[in-house]
Structures are given as structure tokens and as C-alpha cells.
Amino acid sequence: MDYKEYIAERLNELKLNELEEILRSTETPFSDITGESLIENFVSGKAIFDTDVLINSFKDLLLFEIKSAMILAAQIIAVCIFIGLLKSISSSFGEKTVSNIGLLVCSFFVIALCMKNFTYTYDLCADTIATMTYTMQILLPILIPLLISMGGITSGSLLNPLMIASITAFNTLLLKVMLPMIFVSTVFFLINGMTEKSYVKTLASFLRSAAAIATGFCATIFSGLTLIQGFVAKSADGLLINTARFSLSNFVPIVGGFAADSVDMVLSCIAIIKSGIGVLGIIVICSLLIMPIIKLLALAIIYKFTAIITEPIGEKNISESLNEMGNATATLVVILILTSMMFLIFISVLIGIGGAAR
């Protein structure tokens, strides 16, 4: 049997529809890649992506997001200009109380704008993390049986529960602890923008850095565990598969050598399929990540930029809290990147095991 036929047959048995569906729904330049086209491309030695198209489309996307975030910036800057005006003509109101209340109302307005935007950002981040976890939960049941079928019995049975557990635990931790912490810290920073004295600023910065550090810590521990487990299991599997091949070719007379060779062919076909699906998984994770990250980065840039602009015209508090909003959005980006990094490490451990088991 030809190796291409064999690969096509195996691919048909795998359920890649859901993965391809997720990839299609992301609407990135990758979205027309399927598992078959990917494997065909790298069996025949073609490139998977067109680099120029990729760079151009990302540049366009970033510019578009910055443009759409400009509306928010324009609203905030308009309010801040109004605050500056109010401050300078406050003496003609006679009483100071009136102008102070006016200033308070204006800062409420800025905070409401920021909060509305941040709720959207937060939902985007949580959705992305949930979708990435879902992708991993689809991908693992496809990859692990492939791994086991090419002789990685120890690694498959050791890594599967470990990976599923760490993915689920990480998802729950992020959605229930880290992201709410960042949300709370942002609320505190915004409260801080309204008052003259800072009451909760230190608490807010503590919460945010704690969330970022905890995420990094969890990602390191989970991926470290998986990596170590993967190394150990890899050598055990190498032993198994080499013993099988050796005894087949030496103890079965005459046909044993051919049988061992065809075992080799089947194994490398499965290895190709496995790395193909692994790469497909990496592409899905990356394309799930790209849109939110570009959006969040554009927002962070806009927040920082608005903080720079409002500093001379508006109040110091407001510009500071806008700056902190920018930092909070950047922290969300960091958390997204850490999460995807962990998932990518998992996938590459699974791909790597196949390559070295031979």
C-alpha cells in the first residue's frame, strides 16, 4: 500500500471536523487550513503559510482595531477638555462646591466609559481562554490515541490524565480567581481616579501583580510537570518499540526483516499524521489568540495614549487611572499569552514524543 493512501485512510477515521470548525470561525488568514491540506503540504515539502499575506493582514487588523478604539479615546479626551474648562472658569460660579460636583460628575462619566469598555475586554479574554481550553479538550483525545498507536503506551497513559487535569485546573483557576482579581483591581483603580486621596491604590496594585504572578506560577508548574513526565515516559517507550522491532526482525526467520520495515513505515506515517494534527492544533490555538491579542494591544496603546494626552489638560487622577487601565489591559494580554504558551508546550510535548520514540 502506498503511504499516501495509508495517511488519507487514517485521516478519514479521525474526527477533525470540530477543530476545523473552530479554526474557520476565527476568521484569520489561517482559517482555510484543514488537516488534510496541512499534511499534504508537508509530505510534499511545501510551505504552510504565505508570509507576506500574513504580515499584511496582521498590520491591517492592528490598524483597524486602533481606529475603532479611537472612538473611546475621543470621548474620554472630550470629557477631559471639558474638565479643564470647568476648572478654569470655576471661580465665576461663586461657590466652589458647584464646580467640584461638576468635576465629580465628569470623572464619573470617564469611569463609566472605561468600565463599559473593560467589561467587554474582560469578556473577550474569558471567552478566548474558554475556547482555547475547549480546543485542547478536543485535541487531546485525537492526539493521545495516535501516540498510543505508535507505541507510546507509557507516555500516552501517563500524559493523558496529567494534561487533562492541568488544562481543566488551569482554566478553572484563571476564570474563577485570576481574571476576577484583575477585574477587582481595575475597579479599585477607577475608584481611585475619583477621589483626591488614594484609598485603595496599593490594594489594587497588589491584586493585579498577585494575579499576574499566580498565573505565571501555575503555568510554569503545570508545564514543568508535563515536560518531566514526558521525558521519562519517552525513554520507556523507546525501549518498548525498539525491543519489538528488534525481536521481529531477528527472531522471525526470513519475512521478519520485511515485517520490521513495514512496521517502520506504518509508524512514520502515524508520526506524520500526529505531527500534522499537532501543528493544526498549534495553528488553531494561535489563531484563536491573534484576534483578542491584537484587540487588547490596540486598546492598551489607546489607553496609554489617552493618559498622555489628558495629563496636561485634565486632572492628574484621571490620567493616572487611564494609565492603570492600560496596564490592566496589558496584564490581560500577558495572561492570555501565558495560557496559550502552556497549551503550546503541551502540544509540542505530544509532537516531540512521537519523533523520538523511533
Partner: protein, 55 residues
């Protein structure tokens, strides 16, 4: 989760209302004592989750 929600909401409300009241305060000797009392109130609200650990 509910407790955390409640806590954040409380802090938000107390800081907001006290900063509003602070503006309306008449100028005088009493205002700085009042401001001190306000800060104590905010401190009490911030520390309120401690009751779950003590009780």
C-alpha cells in the same frame, strides 16, 4: 464569589458616597475631623472580610 462581589460593591459605594459628601461639607474646623472619620469608615469597609477569618 458572592462575598467578594459584595465587598467590592461596598468599597465602591462607600468611597463614592463619602467623596460626594466631602464636597458638600461646609468649610470649617470640623471638616478635617470629619475627613478623618470618613477614612476610618473606609478602612472598616476594606477590612470587613476579616470577619470571615475570625469568626
Amino acid at each position: 464569589m458572592n462575598e467578594v462581589n459584595e465587598w467590592v460593591k461596598n468599597i465602591f459605594m462607600i468611597v463614592l458616597s463619602l467623596s460626594f459628601v466631602e464636597i458638600l461639607l461646609p468649610e470649617g474646623d470640623m471638616s478635617k475631623y470629619l475627613k478623618y472619620i470618613f477614612s476610618i469608615m473606609i478602612l472598616a469597609v476594606i477590612l470587613s472580610p476579616l470577619r470571615y477569618f475570625i469568626a
